[in-house]
Amino acid sequence: MSDDRDFPSNSDTEPERESEPRPEADGGVTRQEDFPLDISRWVAAIAPIVLLALFVGGFLLATPLAGIQGGGEPLPAVSIDYTTLPDGETIRLHVTNNGPPVEITQVHVNEANWQFDVSSPGDDARLGTGESATVEIPYHWMAGYDYDVAIMTADGVTFGTTIVAAHQSPGITTQILWTLAVIGFFVGIVPVTLGMFWFPFLRTMPRTWLHAVLAFSAGILAFLAVDAGFEAFEVAERVPTYYAGPLLVVLGIVGAVLVVQAIMDWGSGDEPSRLALAYSAALGIGLHNFAEGLAIGSAFAIGRTSLGAFLIVGFMIHNVTEGPVFVAPLAEGDRPALSHFAALGLLAGAPVILGGWIGIATQSPILSALFLAIGVGALLQVVFDIGDLVRSSGSLRAAPNLAGFGIGLFVMYATDLLIVL
């Protein structure tokens, strides 16, 4: 009520507190040191886990929520992740159970009951939470037609998808593997290697311009990272919800940054060698090209193979800019052995072929999202490293560097227009 009264009481307590002895105040630290045996430390470490186990057990036994669980069953959630048409007589659905256990009891094709066979981990039509299965339907489909397919569970819930413009998925034959290898060679290895032929020219450049070229490389890589990042999150939408696609992508990106950084630091200490930087750049581009290969393979797999000459030329122009990116760090100092250049070229270019092969073998959105995310992480790490390299012997914000970075972004955007899968 009155301020006057309160003040005296405050002033009374102050001196008392100060008069108390203080030294034992940080008892926590001293007590820890007082543990007589090392075992006690481990007991202390494990105790919370043991207690958690006890509480979980007690919760499950006592079922304190039993009274409020009426009718609150989780709804079934099954996704058809992708479909394949291995031959003219078969439709194959790749499904994942994202919810409580279900049984696939019936299958519809274009609003008609049809025969089917389920291959699941338990070898029956029952799918536990998180289990995936393939549903094989003998169906004489017509190329170019659309097909509505749906699976029905024991309680009549349906989960469906539309196969648009049905087209036979190519099997994995030596011919198709060879075709993809040839495409990969032209789309990946050739342009990347051609890009590396700028190396002698780069060596003649003054440091300022070389930095600008490095910044240009960083722009290219940054563009690819953003591009692949968007795509990764797009693909993540199709990942069965059980696997939390977007989080998987985040994990892939951050994980890849950390892993590539750790590898870089392993041999060379804090300051990465220029060769190590070149290799990590090549790896980043390689992972990006792997994802590109996956996309080409998937396009083959779902029959969208309009890979005309124009598209291949587009890819070549797009990818030729990747060559100088990982040789630019080597422009200063001693030229490494030629075998290193061959290795860099293969590391950056050859994954297109591998990606193509895997892309045709599976269209698993989980795999695609994960590979895209890892590529993004690897690319970002290289962008950071190039940034470090430029900063260590100059300023990042020098006009040529900013211009180089911007031009890198623009070139990638422009050449990206040439590729429409």
Binding site: D87, G88, E89, E103, T105, Q106, H108, E111, A112, N113, W114, Q115, F116, D117, A125, P138, H140, M142, M152, T153, A154, D155, G156, V157, T158
Partner: protein
């Protein structure tokens, strides 16, 4: 046979391969110029046929496969067998309850309830009494697929009631459902509005745990239906609250006033009158069960309620059928490339005797779709709309279209057909392929 194949598989396959090649070339040559047939589609078809021939897929293998799902070539219908013993469409087909019929009922796998509560005279009037209880049960509507039903006496369609023209039908209705109000509304010419089974009249809705006794006048003669009239109607009908009530014509009344029973405007000669009386006797299973129409050994009557189920509640049916179970009257296994079939335990054609007059009481209780239909293969039938006439309204047709709640009597004669399988189904292909495809096996 199996052993022989195992001992020398290569020879057999080589042989089969060369035969297949020869056939391939011939077939391809013959269709090469045919527009719309690609070489690939021909080859694809042959690959399957050849595969079936070589591996012996189909009926033979299916027998070894208790599941029944794998051996079917170019499959037919919904694979698998029914396992749930709540309602048997094969038992339901020919079950008629007249009030004094046995309460161990085939429709519910021979279990007993108290449906038939007696037949007695009251004020010079025959009373047929029944006990109806609304309960919630699950029924299997496709192999492995169950649907939560609201039912009369635990079955969908509800019990078939059969009475004679002019009887008093007394229904002691108890609502045994846990949550929902229900009624029974009859499609009869009822003279007391309190007995109409609607929310606006008489007792109105019967709440869970409550009872009401409906009394209906059995008229006019014909095949009719009853159903719950609680709102929302779509839900209460679609969930299974419906059934059949057949009113058999009394030959005496027909003799008195034949014109009432005929969709016919010519003079009523003695010949016409006698014909109508004979037809009334043929239709009356209660007082003239032994009547055999000329040219037949007997009469085989069955009830088919065309219904459907919206299993995912999207306002469209996922399962169609007659008498609830999709494909219940169809073969369990089919080898499409050899025209062979096999009956299953729960999925099997309806056995009929070719010397019997086949009479089908057909009702359309579909929801969500405006119309349903009934089409016979290799057969034409006479159709009596609502069964209220004794001469057919439509003679010699093979397809009849019905709107919701429309019903009629069909008379089929397989007397000069060769024994074998004769299909019948909705001619809405979508309905047929989602379960409403059935067969008579004529012996």
């Amino acid at each position: 046979m199996t052993d022989q194949r195992a001992s020398d598989p290569t020879t057999r396959e080589d042989e089969a391969a060369s035969v297949t090649r020869g056939l391939e070339e011939r077939l391809i040559d013959s269709v090469e110029d045919h527009e719309g047939v690609t070489r690939r589609s021909v080859l694809g078809g042959l690959a399957i046929a050849g595969g079936a021939a070589v591996t012996g897929l189909g009926a033979a293998q299916s027998e070894n496969d208790p599941d029944g799902g794998d051996g079917e070539v170019n499959g037919f219908g919904a694979p698998g067998e029914y396992t749930h013993e709540q309602f048997d469409p094969h038992g339901f087909l020919r079950e008629f309850n007249a009030g004094d019929s046995p309460n161990e009922r085939d429709a519910i796998f021979g279990r007993a309830d108290d449906l038939n509560a007696g037949v007695y005279e009251e004020d010079g009037q025959t009373v047929r009494e029944f006990n109806f209880t609304a309960i919630d049960v699950e029924q299997e509507i496709l192999p492995g697929v169950r649907f939560p039903m609201w039912t009369y006496n635990g079955q969908v369609p509800g019990p078939t009631i059969r009475v004679e023209e002019g009887d008093l039908v007394r229904i002691n209705f108890t609502n045994g459902s846990r949550k929902m109000d229900h009624t029974i509304h009859p499609h009869l010419r009822n003279l007391n509005p309190r007995m109409d089974g609607i929310p606006q009249n008489g007792p109105g809705l019967i709440e869970p745990g409550e009872s009401f006794t409906y009394e209906w006048r059995a008229q006019p003669a014909g095949t009719h239906l009853y159903h719950c009239h609680t709102l929302p109607l779509k839900a209460h009908v679609h969930r299974g609250l419906y059934g059949t009530i057949i009113v058999d014509p009394k030959p005496e009344l027909v003799r008195e006033n034949p014109r009432k029973y005929l969709d016919y405007h010519g003079p009523i000669t003695e010949e016409v009158r006698e014909m109508a009386v004979r037809r009334a006797k043929s239709r009356n299973m209660i007082s003239h069960a032994g009547f055999v129409p000329e040219g037949y050994d007997g009469i085989d009557e069955m009830v088919m309620v065309m219904n459907g189920f919206d299993t995912n509640f999207n306002g469209d049916n996922e399962v169609y059928g007659v008498n609830t179970r999709g494909f219940a009257y169809a073969p369990a296994r089919t080898d499409s490339y050899r025209g062979e079939w096999a009956a299953g335990k729960t999925k099997k054609p309806i056995q009929v005797d070719r010397n019997d007059l086949l009479r089908v009481h057909l009702l359309n209780l579909i929801e969500f779709d405006f119309v349903n239909s009934f089409h016979t293969h290799s057969q034409f039938f006479d159709y009596y709309d609502a069964g209220t006439t004794l001469f057919p309204n439509r003679k010699t047709i093979d397809t009849v279209l019905m709107c919701q709640a429309q019903r009629g009597v069909l008379e089929l004669d397989y007397g000069d057909h060769q024994p074998g399988l004769y299909m019948f189904h909705a001619h809405q292909s979508e309905f047929a392929e989602l379960g409403w495809m059935s067969f008579f096996e004529v012996n």
